[in-house]
Amino acid sequence: MKEESPWRRFCSDFISSKIALTGLILLSLVVAVALFAPWISPQNPYDLAKLDLLDSRLEPGGKYLLGTDGQGRDMLSAIFYGLRVSLLVGVVSGLIALTLGGLLGVLAAYAGGRFEALLMRVVDIQLGFPAILVALILIAVLGKGVDKIIVALVCVQWAYYARTARSAALAERGKEYMEAARGLGLGRARIVLRHLLPNALPPLIVVATVQVAHAIALEATLSFLGLGLPTTEPSLGLLIANGYEYLLSGKYWISLYPGIALLLTILAINLVGDQLRDQLNPRLSRA
C-alpha cells in the first residue's frame, strides 16, 4: 500500500468531520461573495446615481430580496460590499499581527535574557485587559479610518501571537534538529527564520483562526459604536448600526440581515478553527 503523505492525511481527517466540513464550505462561500461582490451584487450600493429615495425602507421581497435601507440602498448588495470590508480588515490585521507577534515571540525565545523578560511582561500586562478596552483607548487616540482600525486591531492582537510563538519556540529550541542547525554553523537569522519559525507555526495558525474571528467581531462592535470605519466604507457593523434607528419602529431587516451575515462569517471561522485546533494539538493526536 502506498504511504499517505502527511498533508493528504491532514485533509482527509479534516473532511471526516461533518461540522468542520460545513464550516469550511460556509467559509469558502463567504470569502467568494466578498471577493466577487462587485460582479454578483444586484446594484452598486455606493453609486449614488443608482439609488432611488422613493425605494427607501422597502420590506424584503419583491424588487429587493432583503429590502432596502433609509437611503433606498439594496440591503443584499450593501451586505456583499460590507462583507468585503469586514473580511479585509480582519484578515489584514490578523496577518500583520501574526507576522509581528510571531517574530517577536520567536526572537524572545531565542534571545532570552532581558529582551524576553521585558517583552513577556508587556504581553502579560496587555492581556490582563479586555480587547475592547485596549481597542477603545487606541481608537479614541488614533481617530477613525480603515488604516487606524487596522493599527488598533494589530495592537490588540499581537500579544496573543507573541505569547504562543514564544512557548512553541521554547519547546522547539531544545530539539535535535535545532542543535544540528547550530552545529552546521548556520547564521542566527537563518536558524530563526528557516528552522525555528516553520516548526513553531502550527499553534500560531490555530490562534490565528480564533483571532481573525475576534478581529471581525471587534471591528463590527467599534463600527457599531461609531468609533470604527468612516461611513464611506460601511462594514457589516456600520450597516447594523444604521438599522438601529429603524428597529424600534419594527423595520427589522436593515439590522437583522447584516447581523446574520456577520454571525455566519464568525461561526464558519470558529468551526474551522475548532477542527484545526483538535488536529494540530499533539496531545489529542490519534494513537
Binding site: V141, I240, L263, N270
Partner: protein, 324 residues
C-alpha cells in the same frame, strides 16, 4: 507575600502613568474641543478666552504636568461638558454599571455552572450536545447584535419588556440602585442578559471541560468505591476541585464585564459609565475620557490582584510554588 503585593502596586502605578500619558497625548492630537464647546458664531477673542478658562491654551506638556500634579491629589480635572469634576461625574454613573455587571455575573454563574456540570457528567446525551452547540453560538454572536435582537423580539414584537433606559432608582447607602424594585428589574433584565451571554458560554465550556477531566481521577473513583452517595461525590468532592480554576476565570471575567458594559449600555441606552465614555469621546470631553480609563484600569488591576490572592488562598499548591 508582602513583597508580591508591593511589587504589584508599583506595577499598577506604572501602568496608570503610561495609560494616562498615552491617552492624554493622543487625545490632544485629535480635534479641538473648543470648536464643539463654544458657540460656532463666537469670534476669535471669545474662543481664546474659553480656551484660557479651561487651561487649553498652554503647551501640551505643561497641561499634562498640571494634570499629573492634581491627579496625585485625587483630582482628575473638570469635565468640559458638565462643568463638574470628571471623577465625580464617573462615580455618579458607576452604580448603574455595577448593578448591570452584578446581575450579568449572577446569571452566568447561576446558569453556567449547573449547565456545564450536566453537560460534563452526561456528555453523550442529546441535551448536553444542545447545550454545547448553544455555547458555540454564544461565542460567535457579537454582543451588540444580540442586544438588538433582544430589543426586537422582547420589546418591539412581544412588548413584554421596556426596550431602553433604566428604571426608577432607590437610594441605598447614598447610591442610586434600580434593581431592587420589580419595575427596575424589568428594565435591567434585557441588558444584563445581553451582557451575560458571552460569559455564560465561557463558564459552561470551562465547567464541562473541568468535570470531564476530574471525573476520571482516582479520588472520585475512591469516593464512589467508598459508597458515598452520588450527590455527595458530585456536590462536595467534584465541585470543590473544579471551583479553583473557575474562581480565577469568574474573577477575571468580572473585570471584562465592566469593560463590555460599554457595548451593552450603548445598545440599551443604559446610563452607566460605558455610555458616558462613548458620549464623551464624541464630545471631545477629554477629562472624562482620561478619568474613565484610569478608573477602569485601576479597577481592573485591583480585581486581578484580588483574584491572584484568592487563588493562592484556595489552592495550597500555588503558595508552595511561590515560596520556592
Amino acid at each position: 507575600m508582602a513583597v508580591f503585593i508591593l511589587r504589584r502596586l508599583a506595577q499598577t502605578l506604572l501602568v496608570l502613568f503610561v495609560t494616562s500619558a498615552l491617552v492624554f497625548g493622543g487625545l490632544y492630537l485629535i480635534g479641538n474641543p473648543i470648536d464643539i464647546l463654544v458657540n460656532p458664531a463666537a469670534d476669535e477673542a471669545e474662543k481664546l478666552r474659553a480656551a484660557a478658562a479651561l487651561g487649553l491654551d498652554r503647551p501640551v506638556l505643561e497641561q499634562y504636568w498640571i494634570f499629573l500634579k492634581s491627579a496625585l491629589g485625587g483630582d482628575l480635572g473638570k469635565s468640559f461638558v458638565f462643568g463638574r469634576p470628571a471623577l465625580e461625574v464617573i462615580l455618579e454613573r458607576m452604580p448603574a454599571t455595577l448593578e448591570l455587571a452584578f446581575l450579568a455575573m449572577v446569571m452566568s454563574v447561576g446558569l453556567g455552572i449547573p449547565l456545564g456540570l450536566y453537560a460534563g457528567l452526561y456528555p453523550d446525551r442529546l441535551s448536553s450536545k444542545a447545550i454545547m452547540a448553544g455555547s458555540i453560538l454564544g461565542f460567535s454572536l457579537p454582543t451588540f447584535w444580540v442586544g438588538l435582537l433582544l430589543i426586537m423580539v422582547f420589546a418591539v414584537q412581544l412588548g413584554w419588556l421596556p426596550s431602553t433606559g433604566r428604571g426608577p432608582t432607590q437610594e441605598v447607602f447614598g447610591l442610586q440602585i434600580s434593581i431592587l424594585s420589580l419595575e427596575g428589574l424589568k428594565y435591567a433584565f434585557l441588558p444584563s442578559l445581553n451582557l451575560a451571554l458571552f460569559k455564560l458560554s465561557l463558564i459552561i465550556r470551562l465547567t464541562r471541560a473541568q468535570v470531564r477531566e476530574q471525573a476520571l481521577l482516582d479520588y472520585i473513583r475512591f469516593a464512589r468505591a467508598k459508597g458515598l452517595p452520588r450527590a455527595r461525590v458530585i456536590g462536595v468532592h467534584l465541585l470543590k476541585n473544579i471551583m479553583i480554576p473557575l474562581v480565577t476565570v469568574i474573577g477575571l471575567e468580572l473585570g471584562s464585564v465592566i469593560a463590555f458594559a460599554i457595548v451593552t449600555e450603548s445598545v440599551f441606552a443604559w446610563p452607566g459609565m460605558g455610555k458616558l465614555v462613548i458620549d464623551s469621546i464624541f464630545q471631545l470631553d477629554r477629562p472624562v475620557v482620561v478619568a474613565y480609563l484610569l478608573v477602569v484600569v485601576f479597577m481592573f488591576i485591583m480585581i486581578n490582584l484580588a483574584v491572584d490572592l484568592l487563588y493562592s488562598a484556595l489552592d495550597p499548591r500555588v503558595r508552595i510554588a511561590e515560596a520556592k
